[in-house]
């Protein structure tokens, strides 16, 4: 006899030691939503911590976009990850990343763009350019690590050559760009 969705949810939750409150939240979802979520965790090796984050992201996207969890999980970019090639853990991680992009579209896009721009500067290893975590401030931190005056001079020269590009990154942190 086929097990019901609810039985399978309980079984997965027990195996993964899912907190009771989260299990209850899952079971309170509309039946399509709880089944869609079950489909994901049965298809991919989602860990308990990953499930907690995924559940929160899905609920927040659902509130913001006025869509059901099932509808969100059926969006093409997410389906492509779940149904695509690759190892189970890699797909689980990619699914979470994709949900973060959906939840924080402008933040993630800017983070990625600025990281790319900093990477493209090709600064030497002794120069560390740190963007604020989650762009939670407008502070751009630059650290130079040198062993000796000659190396220090080289790092400063490299930094000077990147001055305009770094200035654009600093301005972007201050809200200069369209988002």
């Amino acid at each position: 006899m086929r097990r019901s969705v609810d039985e399978r949810i309980r079984e997965w939750a027990e195996k993964r030691r899912l907190p009771q409150s989260l299990l209850e939240s899952w079971r309170r979802l509309a039946s399509d939503d709880s089944a869609a979520l079950l489909g994901i965790v049965e298809a991919l090796p989602i860990r308990t911590g990953q499930f907690t984050v995924m559940f929160a992201l899905l609920e927040e996207i659902a509130v913001r976009d006025g869509e059901s969890l099932a509808a969100i999980l059926s969006r093409a970019p997410l389906r492509r990850i779940v149904d695509g090639d690759g190892s189970g853990p890699a797909k689980a991680a990619a699914l979470l990343d994709a949900l973060r992009v959906l939840r924080y579209p402008r933040l993630e896009a800017l983070k990625r763009r600025l990281s790319r721009e900093v990477g493209a500067l090709g600064l030497p290893a002794g120069v560390r350019v740190a963007l604020p975590p989650d762009l939670s401030s407008d502070e751009l931190r630059i650290e130079l690590v040198a062993h000796g005056s000659r190396q220090l001079a080289g790092l400063i020269d490299a930094l000077s050559a990147a001055r305009d590009a770094l200035g654009r990154v600093a301005d972007a942190l201050g809200g200069a760009d369209d988002l």
Partner: protein, 370 residues
């Protein structure tokens, strides 16, 4: 122009502290109450304002219980949001009531008065005038801006209490004090009966229609607030606006720009006193509480991240982008208008204004004179 429906209350009961039985204010409130609201006397109103232990939403239950009681502590205090981490505006707060019959999903009172959520009106409010006399004397010529709209809306109870009339009359005779009545209502009838003599400023928190519809429950619509602002301006009051909280939803830039245009259509920009800007900010516990109470509010699930000050805020480049756009838009309609930021750091202030913030006392004096 629609001024919106009058403020209504959804009261289960009114609790009056024994020692306030003969207070004028109690008489006024009882006379204005809708018929059929049960009234009882209690020994200690503070206890009556505590959260109901059996309520699923104790904060909402508090908004259905009106407590008329004597205030034991000082009425005048520094703004509770002030901090040396922020570029502050030197605002002083006069606490004449606590909590609010409106129910904005983002409201900090959900956390701030969680332990005493009952609606409270302080019957001995006239004692505040003694404190104000002392402060006015100590400040000598320094102009001070003193508001009643921090722990409660300044005008939400006014139809019942008519306290605004006493306040306006008091401040009318104090040349170095400016009263700020901060509100989301259109409850201005009592104000229109007084002459403020330039000493009372009425300010409205203003949001785009979309935020009003999703998140500002029981408040007057934005257009009604603007209409009320025009009326009090014509009656001799100063007028200001707080674009606070600014919420960075998709389409916010366009909606806020339209709101500022609309503001300029209602109020001659040259007659505005100031505009403040403040991005949505929530402590983790406020954010949790607000989301529990307003499960379907899309404004509570923006692109907010934990900031260095421990509050969730819209990630900085997006927040600053909105500030820049709003500042440009405001400067276009009112180039000389003072604009200040609420609960932002001096660094953010410098980014936006290209100059260091004034010390709080100086900014406070500027705003009091504006």
């Amino acid at each position: 122009m629609r001024l919106g429906a009058p403020m209504t209350f959804d009261l289960d009961r009114v609790l009056i502290e024994d020692e306030c039985r003969s207070s004028d204010l109690v008489e006024r409130v009882l006379a204005a109450l809708p018929a059929g609201v049960p009234t009882e006397f209690v020994a200690d109103g503070r206890e009556a304002a505590r959260p109901a232990p059996d309520a699923a939403d104790a904060f909402a239950a508090g908004k259905r219980r009106l407590v008329l009681r004597r205030r034991r502590g000082a009425f005048l205090m520094g703004c509770p949001a002030a901090s040396n981490k922020f570029a502050c505006c030197g605002y002083l707060v006069l606490v004449l009531a606590s909590n609010c019959p409106m129910d904005c999903s983002y409201c900090f009172l959900q956390e701030y008065v969680a332990d005493n959520p009952g609606l409270q009106i302080f019957t001995n409010y006239a004692e505040a005038f003694t404190e104000l006399d002392r402060v006015a004397r100590d400040a000598q010529a320094l102009p001070l801006r003193i508001g009643t709209g921090e722990l409660a809306d300044s005008l939400a109870f006014d139809r019942m209490t008519r306290i605004s009339a006493d306040l306006v009359d008091y401040f009318a005779g104090r040349p170095n004090l400016t009263l700020e009545l901060k509100t989301k209502t259109a409850e201005i009838d009592n104000l229109l009966t007084r002459d403020p003599k330039g000493r009372t400023l009425v300010s409205w928190s203003l949001s785009p229609e979309r935020v009003f519809r999703t998140s500002e429950h029981r408040t007057a619509p934005p257009e009604a607030r603007l209409g009320a602002a025009r009326k009090v301006l014509e009656a001799g009051y100063k007028v200001a606006f707080h674009l606070d909280p600014i919420i960075a939803y998709d389409g916010a830039e366009r909606d806020y720009a339209r709101l500022i245009e609309q503001l300029g259509d209602f109020i001659p920009p040259a007659r505005l006193s100031f505009i403040s800007l403040g991005g949505l900010r929530m402590t983790p516990s406020l954010r949790k509480r607000a989301r529990e109470r307003f499960l379907a509010d899309p404004m509570l699930v923006g692109e907010d991240v934990l900031s260095p000050d421990g509050r969730y805020r819209t990630f900085t480049p997006l927040r600053l982008r909105l500030y820049h756009r709003l500042r440009e838009q405001i400067s276009r309609i009112a180039p000389a208008l003072p604009i200040y930021l609420c609960m932002e750091t001096p660094d953010i202030h410098r980014r936006l204004m290209a100059e260091s913030p004034l010390p709080p006392a100086h900014l406070g004096a500027t705003l009091a004179r504006a």
